[in-house]
Symmetry: C2
Subunit: 207 residues, 2 copies
């Protein structure tokens, strides 16, 4: 981005644009090499700025990374919500996250390394655990809503919706780890069958 572009923006707009630009670059770089191995120089260059330019918008690497992770998780959650509301049937809602196991999805290729990085951070850093907790909680809220709905219609067997939602969420996650990290032995088809099987049986739906 050259200097000509700058004048045509309001200042507040510019700040938001630059921050976004930097955060996108941060996510890409962390995804590529991990947050411990990424340098501010890498991020700056990826964003088309210099170290000083990045420093102008973010006070430290730590703050930048946290903000980047936060926005990324937010985006993934929004996407999940957009997907789930496209289904009316409660079981379909619970099974609507197949895109998590699609190699051609750009969010997937960017996202899994980010997720693993965030989890590794979380195991040492309470702030990242909090971030993870908030993210999971929003998923649970969304899933348990669908479960309650299904129970009302008599589709699902009786069980605590929140507890069941946590189990479903965990199953998606566990399958995802295998699918992404041991890809030669865990095809996308396996992943889809695994979650479908586990979840339908868990909910007491006749197969």
């Amino acid at each position: 981005m050259n200097r000509q572009d700058r004048g045509i923006q309001h200042l507040n707009d510019l700040e938001e644009i630059r921050k976004n630009q930097i955060i996108l670059a941060t996510l890409k770089k962390i995804s590529e090499v991990g947050s411990d191995n990424v340098t501010m120089d890498d991020i700056a260059r990826e964003a088309g700025l210099s170290k000083g330019g990045v420093a102008h918008y973010f006070p430290s690497k730590d703050v930048l990374c946290r903000e980047a992770f936060k926005r990324f998780f937010e985006r993934i959650f929004q996407r999940s919500r957009d997907t789930i509301i496209g289904f009316a049937d409660p079981l379909s809602k619970l099974l609507s996250f197949g895109w998590l196991y699609n190699w051609n999805d750009p969010d997937v290729n960017l996202g899994y390394p980010l997720l693993f990085d965030a989890m590794a951070m979380a195991s040492h850093d309470a702030a990242y655990r909090q971030l993870f907790h908030e993210w999971v909680d929003r998923w649970i809220e969304m899933l348990s809503e669908a479960i309650r709905e299904g129970r009302e219609y008599g589709l699902f067997q009786d069980a605590d919706p929140v507890e069941t939602a946590r189990t479903i969420s965990a199953i998606y996650h566990g399958v995802a780890v295998r699918w992404y990290l041991d890809r030669d032995s865990h095809s996308s088809d396996w992943a889809l069958r695994a979650v479908r099987n586990s979840i339908t049986r868990l909910m007491g739906v006749k197969g």
Copy 2:
């Protein structure tokens, strides 16, 4: 360990003792701060040696970490095998990993940060993916054996044992992540119920 101890050992013994000592220290430190943040100095001090002492036994940090991870995964797997063979009933075998959700277990407190670290590495490094793959494969072999047994006795419904084993393994993993990283919302009781429920229903066992 002080100098008096050293003379009473054969040289080959000593080498194995030192390597073990260093590896244990490495695992502890990685568990505490992550493999990227650990320094050779940290490891040496933890092992009661100096940097030079460690360098004498391991050529580089990279090699040391890989070897440490390898031995750790091996140990966990051995422990799992020891546990599973204590049960005769195939379903009990599949449910015999409750110790994975026990906060008082020393392997647990040491192990989860190591596992998350290894996964984050694996998402960038094929060598760690290979390590993960081999580890998973041994689990799958062990689990699918129990599943085959259960099918022979007519306890489990028909389904591909390996595919089902992969699903069970993934469920254990997914539940573990939630339990360890979002501990305030996921009790050990929840974790045990979650795997028991998911697995018994997946296997078609009458609850």
